[in-house]
C-alpha cells in the first residue's frame, strides 16, 4: 500500500517536471523580445477597448446620465413601450416562421438527393448577400401601392406595407438563413442511418422526426434560433424601408433609437439602445454555452 503511494508521488513529481520542461520549450519558441510582445498586446487591448468596450460603456453611461429614474421613465413612454412590443411580436413571428422553414430546408438538403440542390443552398444564402435595404425595397415593389399586388391588396383592404405584416415579412426574409445554416452541416454529418434504423423498426415519418431527428439536432436548432432572434430584433435597414415610421405603431426598437437620437432625446435613445445592447450580451453568453453543447455532442459521436 505504502509502496503504491510512494510510486504515485514520484510519478506525479516527474510528471510536473515534464510539464515544466514543456513550458520552457514553449517559452523558447517565443523568440520575440519582451518589448515587442508588450507592444503587440497593448495595441490589441487598446483596439478592443476603443472599438468594443468603450461604445458599450458609452451606451449605458448615456442611458443613465440623468439618473435611473429618467432611464425608466424613458422606457415607460408609450412610444417606447409600443416599439418594444412591436419588436417582440415581429421577432416571434419571424423566428417562428424561420424555425419551420429552416428545419424543412435543412432536412431536405441534408437527407435527400435531388436535382437543383446546390441552387437551393445558394438561394438560402441570398438574404446574407443582399443589402437589407434592397430586401426591404423588394417588398415595397411587391406590396406597395404601385407594386404587383398593390391594387389587389387595396381592393381587399389588406394592409401589408407600413404595418406589422410588412415588417414581419422583411425581417423573416433577412433572417431566413440562420436556422437552415446552423442545421445543414450538423444534419449532413449525422447522415440518414438513424432515420433508416427508426423506419425499419416500424416508426412512422413523424415518429422518426420527433423521436430521432429532432433530439439529435436540438442544440443546433437552439443555436440557429438564438442568432435568428438577435438579428430579427436588431434589424434596421429592411425594416426601415417597409415600416413607414408611424410613431407608436410601426417603429421597432432600432428605428425608434434613430428617431429619438435625431430629435436630441439622448437619454431615451440610449435607454432603448441599452436594451438592445443587453440583448447582444445575453446572446453572446447563450451562444458560448450552446457552442460548448454542440462540441460535446460532436465528441460523443466521435467515439
Amino acid at each position: 500500500m505504502t509502496m503504491q503511494i510512494a510510486d504515485s508521488v514520484s510519478l506525479s513529481a516527474s510528471d510536473s517536471k515534464a510539464r515544466a520542461h514543456a513550458a520552457a520549450a514553449r517559452n523558447n519558441l517565443r523568440t520575440e523580445p519582451r518589448a515587442v510582445r508588450i507592444i503587440i498586446i497593448t495595441l490589441a487591448l487598446l483596439f478592443l477597448t476603443v472599438f468594443v468596450v468603450l461604445p458599450l460603456v458609452v451606451v449605458f453611461a448615456q442611458a443613465f446620465s440623468r439618473g435611473i429614474l429618467a432611464y425608466f421613465a424613458a422606457l415607460a413612454e408609450p412610444e417606447a413601450m409600443a416599439a418594444i412590443k412591436l419588436t417582440l411580436i415581429v421577432a416571434a413571428i419571424s423566428v417562428g416562421l424561420n424555425l419551420v422553414f429552416g428545419l424543412v430546408a435543412a432536412w431536405a438538403i441534408a437527407k435527400f438527393e435531388f436535382p437543383g440542390k446546390t441552387f437551393l443552398i445558394t438561394l438560402i444564402d441570398l438574404p446574407f448577400s443582399v443589402s437589407p435595404v434592397i430586401s426591404g425595397l423588394v417588398f415595397v415593389l411587391l406590396f406597395g401601392a404601385q407594386g404587383y399586388f398593390g391594387s389587389w391588396l387595396r381592393e381587399h383592404d389588406i394592409q401589408i406595407l407600413f404595418a406589422v405584416p410588412g415588417i414581419a415579412l422583411a425581417t423573416t426574409f433577412v433572417t431566413f438563413p440562420f436556422v437552415a445554416r446552423a442545421l445543414i452541416p450538423l444534419m449532413q454529418e449525422q447522415g440518414t442511418q438513424e432515420e433508416e434504423a427508426a423506419i425499419s423498426l416500424g416508426a412512422s415519418g413523424l415518429q422518426t422526426f420527433f423521436r430521432v431527428t429532432l433530439p439529435n439536432i436540438k442544440w443546433g436548432v437552439l443555436y440557429g434560433v438564438l442568432l435568428c432572434n438577435a438579428r430579427a430584433m436588431g434589424e434596421f435597414g429592411a425594416v426601415s424601408v417597409v415600416s413607414g415610421h408611424i410613431r407608436g405603431e410601426t417603429n421597432t426598437m432600432p428605428l425608434l433609437v434613430e428617431i429619438l437620437y435625431n430629435e436630441y432625446q439622448f437619454v431615451a435613445a440610449f435607454a432603448i439602445a441599452s436594451l438592445l445592447a443587453m440583448l447582444a450580451l445575453i446572446t453572446l453568453i447563450a451562444k458560448t454555452v450552446l457552442e460548448r453543447q454542440l462540441d460535446e455532442g460532436q465528441d460523443a459521436s466521435d467515439h
Binding site: 438513424e194 434504423a197 427508426a198 425499419s200 423498426l201 416508426a203 423521436r211
Partner: protein, 344 residues
C-alpha cells in the same frame, strides 16, 4: 420465412449496382453475401429491407410481393455496419424503440416492454449496460445492442450489413461464434453481408459470392471453396496461384514449357490455371508438371511458404508442410494435386 429475388436490377447513374440478380433464401437459413466492395451486396440487402428500391425485378417474402410494402411494413430487422444506434437514447431506450413506436392498438404496456427489453439484453449478455449511452460502449457492445434492437420487433427476417466490419480482429472472431449460436437459438431467416471470406465460410449455411452486380456462385462454404464455379470465385476465396497458360494441339503450355496435364475437353486459346498454394505438391526435380528453383523459404506456423521461380518464367508462392525440407537454391518438381482451368 423464405425470400425470393428475381432478376433484380438497380443502377446508380450509369453504374449497375445490381445487374440481374436471382436468389432464393430458405426458411431459417443463415446466408452470407460475400464479395468485394462495389459488388452490389449491400444494395441487395437494402432492397430486401426496403431502404432502397430496384429499377426492375421482384422481391417476395413467402410468395407475397415485398416491393408493395415500405420498410416500415416489412417487419425486417436491419443491423447497420456502423450500428446507427440512437445517440441520445440509453441502451434500454434504443432496444425499446421498436416496441414504443408500434400503433397504439397493438402496443405492449410499459411492464411488458420492460420485460421484453430485459429479455433481449440478457440474450445479448449486456443487461448491465441498460442505462448507458451508445457513446459509452465499445464497438462490440454497440453491435450487440444494435442486434438486440433489431430483434425487439420479432422480425420475420434479420439482415446484417457488414456486422463486424468496424471491429478489431479478436472481437470479430468472438462475435462470429456468438452470432452463429444466436442464430441456432432463434432460427430467424438471416442474411449477412461481408467482404471477409473467412467470416462467410465460418458463419453461414450457404454462401452467395457476388461480383460487379452479379451472383457468381451460390453454394455451401465447402462448395465455394473446393469447387469454385468461376475464375473470380477461385481468386476471391482462398489464396490462389494463377498461371497464364496456352491450350492447343491437345496440350497445355506455360510459356514454352509443355505441362504434363490433361487438356481433354478444353477450348483452345489463352486460359488461366488456378491452384491453391497448399495443393502444389513438392517432389524431386522432373517429377511433376512444373519445375522451378526455390528462392526464399519462410515459416508460417504449421506451413512453410516458398517462393519458387518456375522454369516457364513465372514466380509463385507455395505452402508446403514444415517437415518437407526446402532450401533456397533447391530445384524441385511441383505437381498440382487439384487445379482448375478457366478460359480468359
Amino acid at each position: 420465412m423464405t425470400i425470393e429475388v428475381k432478376n433484380l436490377v438497380k443502377k446508380f447513374g450509369s453504374f449497375a449496382a445490381l445487374d440481374g440478380v436471382d436468389l432464393k433464401v430458405n426458411d431459417g437459413e443463415l446466408l452470407a453475401l460475400l464479395g468485394p466492395s462495389g459488388s452490389g451486396k449491400t444494395t441487395l440487402l437494402r432492397i430486401i429491407a426496403g431502404l432502397d428500391w430496384p429499377d426492375s425485378g421482384e422481391v417476395s417474402f413467402n410468395g407475397e410481393d415485398a416491393l408493395a410494402q415500405g420498410a416500415r411494413e416489412r417487419h425486417v430487422g436491419f443491423v447497420f455496419q456502423h450500428y446507427a444506434l440512437f445517440r441520445h437514447m440509453t441502451v434500454f431506450e434504443n432496444v425499446a424503440f421498436g416496441l414504443r413506436v408500434q400503433p397504439r392498438a397493438v402496443r405492449k404496456d410499459e411492464a411488458a416492454i420492460r420485460s421484453r427489453v430485459k429479455e433481449l439484453l440478457d440474450l445479448v449478455q449486456l443487461d448491465w449496460l441498460a442505462d448507458r449511452y451508445p457513446s459509452q460502449l465499445s464497438g462490440g457492445q454497440r453491435q450487440r445492442i444494435a442486434l438486440a434492437r433489431a430483434l425487439a420487433i420479432e422480425p420475420r427476417i434479420l439482415l446484417l450489413d457488414e456486422p463486424f466490419g468496424a471491429l478489431d480482429a479478436k472481437v470479430r472472431k468472438e462475435l462470429r461464434k456468438w452470432l452463429r449460436s444466436l442464430h441456432h437459438e432463434i432460427h430467424v431467416t438471416s442474411i449477412f453481408v461481408t467482404h471477409d471470406q473467412e467470416e462467410a465460410l465460418e458463419v453461414a449455411n450457404r454462401v452467395v459470392v457476388m461480383d460487379k452486380g452479379r451472383i457468381e456462385q451460390i453454394g455451401s462454404p465447402d462448395d465455394v471453396y473446393d469447387n469454385p464455379a468461376t475464375a473470380f470465385v477461385h481468386g476471391f476465396i482462398g489464396e490462389s496461384i494463377v498461371l497464364p497458360i496456352q491450350i492447343g494441339d491437345g496440350a497445355i503450355r506455360l510459356g514454352d514449357r509443355q505441362l504434363d496435364l490433361a487438356a481433354d475437353g478444353l477450348a483452345p486459346g489463352a486460359s488461366k490455371l488456378f491452384v491453391r498454394r497448399h495443393d502444389m505438391l513438392v517432389g524431386p526435380p522432373g517429377s511433376g508438371a512444373f519445375e522451378g528453383a526455390v528462392q526464399h523459404v519462410r515459416n508460417f506456423g504449421p506451413v512453410q511458404r516458398a517462393e519458387v521461380a518456375l522454369s516457364g518464367g513465372e514466380t509463385i508462392e507455395i505452402d508446403a508442410p514444415r517437415d518437407k525440407e526446402l532450401r533456397a537454391g533447391d530445384t524441385i518438381g511441383l505437381n498440382p494435386r487439384r487445379y482448375r482451368i478457366f478460359a480468359g
